[in-house]
């Protein structure tokens, strides 16, 4: 899927949390991307393909189970190393994508998120979990 943050704030963006991205303009940007992705999902469903959704857990835009949240985050971009902004929830693009699919009458696909952003990330565990996710029907 396209990265909404890359095309909205660029390659040299600061890290940011959901609350900083959750503006009308960013929602509009995500909705444009989501409509395009939803069109592709619908095309695959129409020909009988199985579609799953793979996001990036911990991302303010792409999180499936874990997003990034801190209502107080703002101003000069300095924060303690121990600060955590991980929180249960979906990212903004994922929310817009699920709404775009619903608007097309397409079922919400099974979804999971890759975990490399999360502190407990373990590549072997993730690989096994992802394989199990793909195998499950």
């Amino acid at each position: 899927m396209p990265c909404p943050e890359l095309t909205f704030t660029g390659l040299n963006r600061f890290w940011a949390v959901r609350e900083q991205y959750d503006t009308l303009a960013f929602r509009r940007h995500c909705r444009r991307i989501a409509d395009g992705v939803a069109g592709a999902v619908a095309a695959h469903l129409e020909r009988g393909d199985e579609v799953v959704l793979v996001g990036v857990d911990g991302s303010p835009s792409m999180g499936i189970r874990v997003t990034s949240s801190d209502p107080a985050r703002g101003g000069r971009p300095q924060w303690p190393d121990e600060a955590t902004d991980l929180a249960p929830g979906r990212g903004i693009l994922i929310e817009e994508l699920l709404e775009a699919l619903e608007a097309r009458g397409a079922p919400a696909p099974r979804a999971t998120g890759v975990t490399y952003v999360l502190p407990e990330h373990d590549p072997e565990t993730e690989r096994a979990a992802f394989a199990a996710f793909l195998e499950a029907h």
Partner: protein, 120 residues
């Protein structure tokens, strides 16, 4: 000093090279070994009204990569890509339709001009 771990090398890859036929060249595996990222182009069977918005997104990513001096190449081709890039004032990158892994690896090496990590 912290190091920016991004690779700064991105290949736009036609769908037939992402999903090759049995025995076909595994382009993604070669790209991974050579430390290149990949953006999959819409499959050729997508209708224009489905492929168009996706190509627009590819073009917007591409333009940002080019502005930041990433190495960007094209593996295969996709109808409509040149027009989507042209609408943003950027030209198609150097391209290859590889038959062998060695051919692709040599092409990538020739077009890898930036360091794979940068201090930040």
């Amino acid at each position: 000093m912290d190091v920016d771990e991004r690779g700064f090398r991105v290949a736009l890859v036609a769908d037939e090279f992402v999903n090759p036929p049995p025995g076909g060249l595994d382009v993604l595996a070669v790209l991974a070994r050579e430390d290149w990222g990949a953006i999959q182009l819409p499959p050729g069977w997508y209708p224009d009204d489905v492929a168009g918005p996706l190509l627009d997104q590819v073009a917007e990513h591409f333009e940002e990569f080019v502005r930041h001096d990433y190495d960007v190449v094209l593996v295969g081709d996709r109808a409509g890509l040149a027009q989507a890039l042209g609408a943003l004032g950027v030209a198609l990158p150097v391209a290859i339709a590889p038959v062998t892994e060695d051919e692709l690896r040599a092409f990538l090496a020739t077009n890898a001009t930036v360091r794979s990590s940068r201090p930040v």
